[in-house]
Symmetry: C2
Amino acid sequence: MNRSEALGAVFFLSVGLLRGESGYDAWLRYERLSGAALDQYRQEVPAVLATLDESVVSFSARDEIVRGMRGMLGRTLRAESSVPQESAVVLGTLEEIRRAVPAWRLEASLAADAFWLKTVTAGRVNYIVITASNDRGLLYGAFALLRKIALGEPVANLDEREAPYAPIRWVNQWDNLDGSIERGYGGRSIFWENGRAREDLRRVGDYGRLLASLGINGCSINNVNANPRVLSPDFTPQIARIADALRPWGVRVAIAVDFGSPKSIGGLETFDPLDFKVAEWWKSRLDGIYQAIPDLAGIVLKADSEGRVGPSTYGRSHADAANVLARALKTHGGLLFYRGFVYDHHMDWNNPKNDRARAAYDNFHDLDGKFDDNVVIQIKNGPIDFQVREPASPLFGALEKTNEAIELQITQEYFGQAFHTVFLVPMWKEVLDFDTHAGNAMASTVKAVAAGKTFARPAGGFAGVANIGLDENWSGNQLSQANLYGYGRLAWNPDLSAKRILDEWTKLTFGADSKVDNTIAAIQLSSWRTYENYTGPLGLQTLTDIVGDHYSVNVEASERNGWGQWHRADENGVGMDRTVASGTGYIGQYRPAVAKMYESLETCPDDLLLFLHHVPYSYKLHSGKTVIQYIYDSHYEGADAVAEYVRQWKALRGRVDEQRYSQILAQLRYQAGQAIVWRDAVTTWFQRASKIVDAQGRAEHYPGRYEAESMKLDAYTVHDIAPAPAEDASGGKIVACTGAAVCTATLDYNGEPGWYTLNVEYFDLANGISHYRVFVGKQLVAEWSGDLRLPSRRMDAGASTRRVIPGIALRPGDEIRIEGRPDGREQAALDYLEIVREKN
Amino acid sequence: MNRSEALGAVFFLSVGLLRGESGYDAWLRYERLSGAALDQYRQEVPAVLATLDESVVSFSARDEIVRGMRGMLGRTLRAESSVPQESAVVLGTLEEIRRAVPAWRLEASLAADAFWLKTVTAGRVNYIVITASNDRGLLYGAFALLRKIALGEPVANLDEREAPYAPIRWVNQWDNLDGSIERGYGGRSIFWENGRAREDLRRVGDYGRLLASLGINGCSINNVNANPRVLSPDFTPQIARIADALRPWGVRVAIAVDFGSPKSIGGLETFDPLDFKVAEWWKSRLDGIYQAIPDLAGIVLKADSEGRVGPSTYGRSHADAANVLARALKTHGGLLFYRGFVYDHHMDWNNPKNDRARAAYDNFHDLDGKFDDNVVIQIKNGPIDFQVREPASPLFGALEKTNEAIELQITQEYFGQAFHTVFLVPMWKEVLDFDTHAGNAMASTVKAVAAGKTFARPAGGFAGVANIGLDENWSGNQLSQANLYGYGRLAWNPDLSAKRILDEWTKLTFGADSKVDNTIAAIQLSSWRTYENYTGPLGLQTLTDIVGDHYSVNVEASERNGWGQWHRADENGVGMDRTVASGTGYIGQYRPAVAKMYESLETCPDDLLLFLHHVPYSYKLHSGKTVIQYIYDSHYEGADAVAEYVRQWKALRGRVDEQRYSQILAQLRYQAGQAIVWRDAVTTWFQRASKIVDAQGRAEHYPGRYEAESMKLDAYTVHDIAPAPAEDASGGKIVACTGAAVCTATLDYNGEPGWYTLNVEYFDLANGISHYRVFVGKQLVAEWSGDLRLPSRRMDAGASTRRVIPGIALRPGDEIRIEGRPDGREQAALDYLEIVREKN
């Protein structure tokens, strides 16, 4: 580098600023305390950290305490290996503490991974003891102590024990070996690239740290739609490298496998699970893997689902399939996760008795008791597929002699991906706290059943499909980090409230400014309801393009195909009749108390009404509002709520570091525009279908909106939009610039003089960067490029994007001209111009 | 770009954040107002902006108003070309206003570049009129209106006229055609690369905007040590392109030329200014340039100085040289700036009568009246060369029939370059307000003389050597931007106070947080005195390596050579005797009243004592303190002051955007370390020279300091340091790692137990990145790379850098080990370790 070029950068480089508030450190920022809090913790935290345990995980705990205290207190604790004659933090297993701390006269036993923070006094010396029965517990205790300080909680006279709610607290990565991630919205894989483990696995180590801070102890590192190569012997070192990177954080690695592997890569002629050679092959191959990775946590298997091969090829059962792998894992202490997500995606839509929601129960209920003790059935929270709202899967309450884990999706596949803020913890809480009425135990909630408590199962717990990738902020959207945090905290302790979890996350991630924290809480805690309001209320499910990007609004995409995400809305009514009495009988899969509640319209909750019943549009909800009016109202409420988020966020300017402030503002602004697209699409569709007009007259009436196709066009041409005209574009038509370098759409303004905001709705595709200019008369008032990279690959609602141009003074007679220059395959397409009066 | 990689970045790209608070927008950020201020200005600023004048400069004014109002008020004014029937901002020359605004009944004339902001009421309609006699005045008026709003000043009922103090308000770029910049510390040239104007000149346009906002109207675009190529005909288009980029901002371009050009590129056998062919050549070449750039402002010439050829080659005078160019410029209205910086740099040090400070006066005084009317003698503020403190040049008061301009150096050549914060306005103010006692006019201050007021000269004013380059923040150091701002504001109105200028700059650059503004004011306004205190008090000049980088401390570098920056400190005393009575007679160059004040020790100000007198160390200042004790005290005060700046700045965490907060914190921390290096070097040198010990016992006694050479060394070897052992390293010795991959220096600590800061003083060169680790016992407590890119190219005081490691708990018996790994030509060299007790 040339000297004079380098000079100015010198203080920039030496600070390493960009990582500072990029979101990379997530909730482990260890921001420096100040004032009285700093003074107090400096008094209370001793200078010495004695680490009695010598495992690699304990050393992570030690290093984390040093790092955290250095960050928060500006002090480097003295890392010693024995208990000093002065006050100290002492880190050691119960046995080590008993031996080394004479003042310790406590008897206790602690579950695996549990920890105990306990202050012990010996004369003038205080020991802050962090103890556990295993090193992972020590690590969790270390993170807990640091979190207390970061949250401003007292650390004098500690006496706190925490044990995890369930032994299984895993994340699943749907990362492909080529580095792409199925349903990943936070960048490419941190694990894989070009068919191998990445050269640089530091991100994996840093991810392990994030996971450990939440108590997560397992990670399945490749897509459940598994590449058979993962099992080939020459690939094992790749897995081992990743296991090495996660091991210091107490995170054990699992892999997802393809059930056809014995044949596809094993050289056998069959993969029949009851074939002796197949069983031998699994055993031998897994023995080989365990030689390289003795602590492999297990295997995740997706079989007989969505085109994956499975035991049905040979007429065998899921139990046969699961057990053949489980037995190969057993001697190594490994678990076999068998995914409950098995269904027929070629069902006949015309048969009103067909019901995908029944599939999990129908597939697994009869097999209860047939699975080995190290098999875990991994059951999605709802019976369909991570929709905006579903009832708890009836399978949870239906297995008494089989291990379960609840599969939650942290990545926002049906929740706006990285482009919408939706805090999922309240939804998860609702499912986890749902009472299955299974068994005779006191605790029959989903969480209790899944954790193995209800039926005293040897295994059970949580599997979360992760939302992270190589993006500097891990998740694509800064606020989506809260979902990973929330998942981990719930897996550790599902009794925590959503508000408590969110408050922790916000304070750790953004600092202790109460205005910031309150604003983020207001946004995040209402965000699920808001998203549901504009995407699919009353149990309609997410009304998206289910056969495409799972992102764009498309009310009919779920119908008339075999995928079974049907809502059966038509001109007469809406909803899937899943009653026992007249419908698919799905409700009968629940225990009687639940079934009774769902079966009756009297007691069925409004939020799930259309998931469970088919009703006319005029059906009155418990609130007295009709279904159709609720659909209208909720969509307007949802869109208004996001607009309000933008206003709330803008009030934080100067209180949040600029990098994250700007990114979140841009994200919320975009979301506010998309919420209007959803609102308009869904309300239009239902108004046309139901022929019952919105009592408030809003649907299909947009004051100040001028359709592009009705403007004076020069070179722009009018197009019908496919596949769903009424939803994909306002007025069902767009204008596109297909045959010219520049096209214009012009409007003669004849309204009142005043200050206005101009909203230009246009289509921003990923395969081109069109350029737009807006003129009032001869004056250029706005100019931008369509450079967003949205999930949509075609001109549909998901590509529809809003440019908000505030502060424009209009006078009668003004000519408003929008000029578009297409680029690549992006045709500078416009939907409409909206002119909104501003208050003076 | 791969899709999933791109996704996360989407909201990042669309905000363009990095430029946001990078410093690029400097004082023209137009940050959005809020609350009552926003409401009020939205009421007071009308919706229409009528621009009556149609020049490119007026259009810049119009666009700037639109941009500024959009930024601050969130509103896009309606840019119209005639006066509307509603309230408006009206931009037009006096003549245009008279014609178009019926309510305008005012008679006035305005000087060139002056402006008038005047509210005119016609019924219910208000016009905010911005008027001037020329378009540049309109542009300056536009910036003034925007600045008022940004500063929160009222804009209702305006009636403000401002005229520039002087017609010449220029910057000089010392940019070489290869893209390097002589004494440039803000990156490479924005004008040149590889011998041509840069392809992308947008930065030049943006620079023009910054300059115009200050009223700067001329820019000399190449180094005064000029490459003859600048005059070759095929190069003219390069100059023209830059002139085109600056023209919309009313900034006229000038060039610096080589006096030997008629011979070196013109094909003549001579460059004798009195040779007819030479005169013809200059005329013809300049005619050619004016054909391409009709508004070329003129030429800057450095001749007969520091190796540049000049008229002395032919025994001609400076007037002969200046006039031959001036006559070629005359018909085009161009000015010839002849630099007064002419001196002999091979003077005999042993002759006590020799004095470089005399040179400017001696060279030019006798030529007064011999220069054409379009010649301007460009005189540096002091008689030497931009030292930390000099008296005003006596030449200012000595020319009555010659145009002058004062040359101020905005770039911090002798002021710590981009690595130290020094706000130069207070120094400039002192010179500008200095009374030369010239002429009989009331106003005989330097500013009045230089502006041409005292002797009613046709030209006069300001030339500032700029401090900008391609760095994102222009200046390398964010706080150094204030110097460019301050220079421009002083050139416009030298009667503004330093505080007023700084308050404006701070508010515009960092916003209106009073804690931020007060802190920055406290730092900036004291920074010159602080820097002087640790680099060269009492008129000693900057005690730096004057034959090298002009950065590192080196007390003797100025002595025993021909450069004439002598301070003549020896064992008996210190200071240059420039008296008439016994010295060089320099004081006699001033007008009698000034000479009398300086000649007498009674009346000579302490701050200039050693610049003007040679005194014994025991000489008592007016304060009663001895010179030697003042040298000790001021150095400690200076170093302490920078340490205090760091503390003050840290209190702004969260109030200043993180990017600038971090950069400035890193810069101030570094400066705090260098101030200690200076302090120790200078106090040691003078204590050894004077043999009078510091009465406070500080010099050469450093509690808690352990010299590296006295530590237990493994592979490190001890070296004497050249060229100035006592100044370049504490104890005169360093340890370097020259023959091993890793070297260590170890100390057995036997002090009190407690919390300590460890300061490791090491040498950070630009030609390698050594790696350091510090251990206490087995514990790694700090780790860093020597990755600064400082001006020093060798191990000297300027490369000496401090790593501050706070929060270390030490106990008696601890072993402190510093480990260095050399890299490239950087030898992981250490000076010392300092152990400083922290308060608990």
